[in-house]
């Protein structure tokens, strides 16, 4: 090893880096090991709730809202939950399923078999909830979820495994479509943009049914792959369909923003633009700016709704407290995430102290649940475990800065609404 010694050896950056990596690794293991050890076995007097969320990937933003809402519920009840008449501390375990079905399944298995959680709340996204449900079902347990509204959840998991706190997606469009059909001049032509995923096809089918009912022609229908990047071809297609009265886009925030942007860029000006999954999140408003004027969204929940519960006198108060804590107004995802542990809380209040989390009795209690006042509105489940709730109200963004006001149904409307909307 003569020549090695002869080479000048200064303490290389590589060695320093290596030391750093080793140190960080040791630290990580040190932090992690006690937690792994501590995670096993549900401790007494603690309600252990487990969840997974798509914290990375396309739903990252939404799932952060969901996570904040879980946290907000915990804060509201001081980290405690009354189970079987006794107040117990709440402990959350949340994992990132990356919107990947096999990972969601794996993590749910971890929550149930390894972390031994008492309760599971559902993740966000149809594929992942279905995969999660398969595991919950295998263990003969039940879970409450609101992140997948597709009819497939009812078909595959409803009534025995899943309780779904969100209405069927097929009815999402009802408020907006009824509102538009009642305008004068009556809209005649509709362009439909559907994302290629069962949920969005279901929403699209709902739109088509409403069109048939109101005598509106669906003149063009564009199906887009879920990973679509550029929406200008779609805008061009819509332009090719002639003057449209309504453009209905079933997609989520970015898809709606991009489509609105591209339609305005190439001068496609329908009399109404409906974003089927357009949320009231501040990012949307910021990104679209003045183009937000007159856009219609269908939302299943807004702070303006006349809902209340035992802690908040109104949904508005809930929203303000939430905003004070997290810096943004809660969206419907925040409300339905808040409601998930809330539903468990109501169902378990008078559970059997001997075995409070028995799946069988929990299932019975959930299906018999009948809550009049919650932040999410009345909660009761039908025989498929679906919440009794239809027709999402329609909102429209008007004013400067644009704010969402309810325009339909009539009994909830805050404003008469604008139609046709101002050109982009």
């Amino acid at each position: 090893m003569l020549d090695r010694a002869a080479i000048p050896r200064r303490p290389s950056r590589r060695a320093v880096l290596k030391g750093g990596v080793l140190g960080a690794g040791a630290l990580a293991v040190g932090v992690a090991l006690p937690r792994i050890a501590g995670a096993a076995g549900g401790a007494d007097g603690v309600v252990h709730i487990g969840a997974s969320l798509p914290l990375t990937g396309p739903y990252e933003k939404v799932s952060r809202i969901c996570k904040d809402a879980f946290d907000f519920w915990t804060r509201t009840y001081d980290g405690k939950m009354v189970v079987a008449g006794r107040e117990r501390a709440v402990k959350w375990t949340i994992y990132d399923d990356e919107n990947n079905a096999s990972r969601a399944a794996q993590l749910t298995e971890k929550l149930i078999s390894d972390d031994k959680v008492d309760l599971v709340v559902g993740t966000y996204g149809t594929d992942t909830v279905l995969a999660q449900g398969a595991i919950v079902r295998k263990h003969g347990r039940v879970f409450v979820q609101a992140g997948a509204s597709s009819i497939r959840v009812d078909e595959e998991l409803g009534g025995h495994t899943a309780f779904t706190a969100n209405g069927r997606v097929g009815t999402y469009c009802a408020g907006a479509m009824d509102f538009l059909a009642s305008r004068t001049p009556k809209p005649k032509k509709l362009g439909l943009v559907i994302m290629d995923d069962p949920v969005y096809h279901e929403i699209g089918q709902g739109v088509k049914d409403k069109c048939k009912q109101h005598g509106i022609d669906v003149v063009t229908e564009v199906v887009l792959p879920m990973n679509v990047q550029d929406l200008r071809p779609t805008a061009l297609k819509l332009r090719g369909a002639g003057q449209l009265d309504i453009v209905y886009n079933t997609g989520w925030d970015v898809i709606c923003i991009k489509l609105a942007e591209e339609m305005s860029a190439i001068g496609v000006n329908p009399k109404a633009f409906v974003g089927g999954h357009l949320t009231t999140s501040p990012v949307v408003k910021e990104t679209l700016g003045s183009k937000m004027q007159g856009i219609i969204g269908s939302t299943v929940w807004l702070p303006q709704f006349k809902y209340r519960d035992d802690k908040y006198a109104s949904a508005q108060e809930f929203a303000e407290k939430f905003k004070a804590t997290y810096g943004y107004l809660p969206t419907y995802q925040a409300a339905f995430s808040y409601i998930l542990p809330y539903i468990y809380q109501q169902a378990l209040r008078e559970a059997d102290p001997q075995d409070p989390f028995n799946p069988k009795t929990l299932r019975d209690r959930l299906s018999r649940l009948d809550l009049k006042d919650t932040i999410w509105g009345p909660v009761s489940f039908d025989e498929r475990g679906r919440i009794r709730r239809d027709a999402a109200p329609a909102v429209q963004w008007t004013g400067d800065p644009a704010a969402a006001v309810i325009v339909a149904p009539a009994d909830m409307a805050e404003s008469a609404g604008v139609y046709p909307k101002p050109a982009w």
């Binding site: 090893m1 020549d3 090695r4 002869a6 080479i7 000048p8």
Partner: protein, 235 residues
């Protein structure tokens, strides 16, 4: 004055291709390095230029140590090599190739030097806009030498300059070498045509298995029976 002592080096840790070489160019204008294939000639030259993955020992140019420097610093200090197979930049034009040879020089100096090289190689001037990759082997060899000369080097290393060239071009190259030395350049030459290499050089070194086994004035080596037998095929 290039001086190399106790030089070792190679491609893999612990495996020396060049093993303890001593060479002193002194006043010799042209020095020839002889050896059979795989003796370590090219590796030695690459080692001087800093291109071997590992190397030890001392390389001195006019008292300045080169052995710890990176290849580009060695080049800037005035040691230039024309590698085996020319190593021109095929997608650059002749002019651009020359400009790279004078990398770091100011524009006026670059212009004068380029003119000098065009005078030396009128052929290159004719083809100055041409992409180097499209030129003949001989032209590329001229270009490679001109490119090295752009920096006014103190040591010019030529590795197999006649390889793959037509005899008439080879003659031109060997005519050129003594003329280069007149500009104060010391030439270190590896040439497969040992006879020619010895003719054109003042001193010579024979390398076997990475070690210098024989050295002295070229004329004496030309007469040495061992050299005659193993390199010139004469007995």
């Amino acid at each position: 004055m290039l001086k190399v002592s106790n030089f070792r080096g190679g491609y893999r840790k612990g495996v020396a291709v060049v093993d303890g070489l001593q060479i002193d160019l002194r006043q010799s204008a042209v020095t020839s390095i002889l050896g059979s294939n795989g003796a370590g000639k090219t590796s030695f030259l690459r080692g001087i230029c800093g291109l071997l993955p590992w190397r030890t020992g001392e390389v001195e140019l006019n008292g300045e140590r080169l052995d710890r420097l990176a290849p580009h610093d060695i080049a800037r200090l005035g040691v230039r090599m024309v590698s085996e197979g020319r190593g021109t930049f095929p997608t650059l034009t002749v002019e651009e190739n020359l400009k790279v040879g004078g990398y770091g020089l100011s524009a006026p100096v670059l212009a004068t030097r380029m003119e000098r090289e065009f005078n030396r190689f009128p052929r290159l001037y004719e083809r100055r806009g041409q992409i180097a990759g499209m030129m003949s082997g001989g032209e590329q060899q001229m270009l490679a030498i001109a490119r090295a000369m752009m920096s006014d080097p103190r040591v010019l290393i030529l590795d197999e300059p006649s390889q793959g060239l037509a005899p008439i071009i080879v003659d031109q190259i060997f005519d050129l070498i003594p003329r280069l030395t007149q500009e104060g350049v010391q030439v270190l030459l590896v040439e497969q045509d040992v006879g020619r290499g010895l003719e054109v050089s003042e001193q010579a070194v024979v390398i076997e298995k990475g070690r210098a086994t024989l050295s002295g004035p070229s004329r004496e080596l030309l007469a040495d029976p061992r050299v005659r037998e193993s390199f010139l095929g004469l007995s």
